[in-house]
Amino acid sequence: MFSVNFKEKVNEIISRHNNDKKKIISIIQEVQKEYHYLPEEVLVYIADTLDISHAKIYGIATFYENFSLEQKGKNIIKICDGTACHVRDSIPILKAIYKELNLNDKNNTTDDMLFTVETVSCLGACGLAPVITVNDVVHPKMTPEAVVELLQNIKKEAL
């Protein structure tokens, strides 16, 4: 169950978009910004408020890669595996991260909810390949060693 009292906030977001069904993607985007994921209760509430079916909002929320129905970790790490990063060896970096955080491609959030690891297809910083972002801050020219150090620093800060 999503325990936060969300109605006031969600109402505000919806009314800022004039209760317009066509703005549904922007609305979901802002809601996700607020809660870092899309809790089921919130999606149902938005659908009912805008008078669209639950199936439709579920369809939209699952179609776009940026939307998540599951809770994510505090630090979101995105590893670019676009073409430029791929040919400059992004996979060893991904492997190093998985190993350091004890994760894999099926289970990509750490149990302590500190990290979520995602691969993305291109961050548009190809000149600096291979890159990763931690909470949207770009870290250029990564190596497996550097990424482990970076993760350890974040862990230390979290303590």
Binding site: F67, T83, S121, C122
Partner: protein, 623 residues
């Protein structure tokens, strides 16, 4: 608020004067690449150092006295060497600038006007003081990127001071039909990849009798390895707005949308600033420059779906639907956004419009080759020395781009292939004979490739082309929207086969089946994504069949990339015979005597790599 043409001219003159009063300018690159390298901190440091040193800083173009302009500019393009700092008017370009360098920059370069040679570009022993001398820039023709890296992207006054919005003002006094004809005559073709004549598209929208029409700018640059649209949106957002405004007037559309992918937060931020400023100055909104024409621009953000780069999927996404393509016709020019006639052009296409209007078509056509006028921006990345954003006239050869501008392949490796236009732009150009090929829509099509959006990823001899095909297929398969069967099922099956081959289990029959599926998907898929999804497979099969053959028959990966085909061996010289590997091996493939070198039985080995990690002497290697 600028009310009419003559006011715009006088505004431009006064901004120009303010700009000229800035005797010296420091341009700190604030493109995504350099920001990642810490350029914003450098900007702040330089600003405060100048203040401390008693020199006058001029940020907002308001000072009457002479001051030093400090600006956050858009992307300079030479991302490899960032963070970049450019000093005008001497045009010094400093590379890899660090916070510690700021003091020297302020005192030596700004106060005394001297160059700092250790921060300048060097190649083969030669020193290149100015940006213009550096080979990376020298061979380029920067029309679309002209302002990128030279003006403050967040300041409309700089854009106007450099002649901005003059083309729009000119166009607003023309007949819409004449503008469409002018664009047609200029020979401008859509820079998003298709190469459809822009003027023709506009004329088709103009000829529709509907009252409501739209102009949509496609900034959903989803191709991995491409970032030219991002750099234009971040570095010169007003040029796009001006292009859209002209397009709106020429096609009698009053509303525009810019669709930007969510991965580009800085582009969204700068575009929003630019739109707000244009509204404030009366260059968007009602009755623009007293022409009676009204135009508004909205930003629509994507949410992470590659297929939304396709026209009908993009408009569906703006409408708040799942971004899935629909069957055409009707085409977007007839029924596009909200079922209304819509001009849908790419970012770079719109950025070309003001250049054509203000410079005239004769001037514009001087650049480029027959039927391919103008320039094209490419994002040069991968295994190449100088990565970054480049702009060259259409018709420039691949060799000039990769070797003269890009500086060739690093680490003394050999050139193998270049991939242009993304995974479903699907165009790989291989072997040396293609190096002389002029880059244009038509010439690339003649070798079975296409210019695509302009992402150019260079690959060296260590790249396995089968793996590359697998990589692209996994991308397209993931991004397939699932609406039509050929794409949904076909990409999945092709990926299965490619995975089987790279794992070392492929057969010759698989190659035939792969070809058959690729051909079917190409001919039957619904949209551009599906139709071109096979291209990486078909082109690698065509040009690198021997590599496929080596994978399935000889069971080797010539580039030694595919793990499944690797052979794990123990170096007898390094092995001390500790037996740890034999005890770790899950299939009992390693045997030997204590204190003597151990050996791996190739037939039993499953290549799990457990022994490599277990060996305390690093004697086991994968090759």
């Amino acid at each position: 608020m600028i009310k009419n043409y003559s006011e715009l001219v006088s505004f431009a003159q006064s901004y120009k004067k303010s700009l000229d009063r800035q005797r010296k300018k420091v341009l700190v690159c604030a493109g995504t690449g350099c920001v990642a390298g810490g350029s914003l901190a450098i900007y702040e440091k330089i600003k405060s150092l100048i203040k401390e040193s008693g020199l006058l800083v001029d940020i907002d173009l308001t000072k009457e006295e002479e001051g030093i302009g400090v600006k956050k500019s858009g992307c300079h393009g030479f991302c490899e060497a960032g963070p970049l700092v450019r000093i005008e008017p001497c045009n010094y370009l400093y590379l890899h600038v660090k916070l510690e360098d700021c003091e020297e920059i302020v005192y030596k370069s700004l106060k005394e006007g001297k160059p700092i040679e250790r921060l300048m570009y060097r190649s083969n022993g030669a020193l290149y003081k100015t940006q213009e001398e550096i080979p990376f820039y020298k061979k380029q023709t920067r029309l679309v990127l002209h302002n990128c890296g030279h003006i403050d992207a967040e300041n409309i006054q700089e854009y106007i001071g450099n002649g901005g919005y003059k083309a729009a003002a000119t166009a607003l006094a023309m007949d819409p039909k004449d503008i469409c004809k002018l664009i047609t005559d200029s020979g401008l073709r859509g820079r998003g990849g298709g190469g459809y004549p822009t003027g023709k598209k506009w004329s088709q929208v103009l000829s529709q009798s509907n009252v409501v029409k739209y102009v949509v700018c496609n900034g959903d640059e989803g191709d991995p390895g491409a970032f030219m649209d991002r750099s234009i949106m971040e570095g010169d957002p007003h040029k796009i707005i001006e292009g859209m405004l002209i397009s709106g007037y020429a096609t009698k559309a009053n509303n525009g949308y810019i669709y930007v992918r969510a991965e580009y937060p800085m582009a969204v931020h700068r575009l929003q600033i630019a739109i707000d400023q244009a509204m404030e100055y009366g260059l968007l909104g009602d009755n623009i420059l007293d022409s009676g024409f009204s135009f508004n621009i909205h930003i629509a953000q994507g949410a992470g779906a590659f297929v939304c780069g396709e026209g009908s999927a993009l408009t569906a996404s703006i409408e708040g639907e799942r971004g899935m393509p629909r069957v055409k016709p009707p085409r977007t020019v007839e029924k596009g956004l909200f079922e209304c006639p819509t001009v849908l052009n790419n970012v770079e296409t719109f950025a070309n419009i003001p250049i054509i209007i203000s410079g005239g078509i004769e001037e514009y056509k001087k650049c480029g080759v027959e039927n391919n006028s103008g320039t094209k921006v490419f994002a040069l990345t991968g295994n190449v020395v100088n990565t970054g954003l480049i702009e060259v006239p259409m018709g420039t050869t691949l060799e000039e781009v990769i070797f003269d501008i890009g500086g060739g392949i690093p680490n003394g490796k050999k050139f193998k292939a270049v991939q242009i236009g993304g995974p479903s732009g699907g165009c790989l150009i291989f072997d040396d004979s293609h190096l002389n090929l002029p880059l244009s829509f038509d010439s690339l099509e003649s070798v079975g490739a296409m210019i695509g959006s302009g992402g150019m990823v260079v690959m060296d001899e260590d790249t396995c082309m089968v793996e590359v095909a697998r990589f692209f297929m996994s991308f397209t398969q993931r991004e397939s929207c699932g609406k039509c069967i050929p794409c949904r099922e076909g990409t999945k099956r092709m990926l299965d086969i490619l995975e089987k081959i790279t794992a070392g289990n492929g057969t010759l029959e698989d190659l035939n089946l792969l070809y058959e599926i690729a051909d079917t998907v190409k001919n039957t898929a619904l949209c551009g994504l599906g139709k071109t999804a096979s291209n990486p497979v078909l082109s690698t099969l065509q040009y690198f069949y021997d590599e496929y053959y080596a994978h399935v028959v000889d069971k080797v990966c010539p580039a030694k990339i595919c793990k499944g085909l690797a052979e794990i061996t123990i170096d007898p010289k390094t092995c001390r015979g500790c037996s740890k590997c034999a005890r770790t091996c899950p299939v009992g493939a390693i045997s030997g005597k204590i204190k003597e070198p151990y050996v791996i039985d190739k037939n039993k080995c499953v290549k799990c790599g457990a022994c490599i990690e277990a060996c305390p002497f690093k004697a086991i290697k994968e090759a």
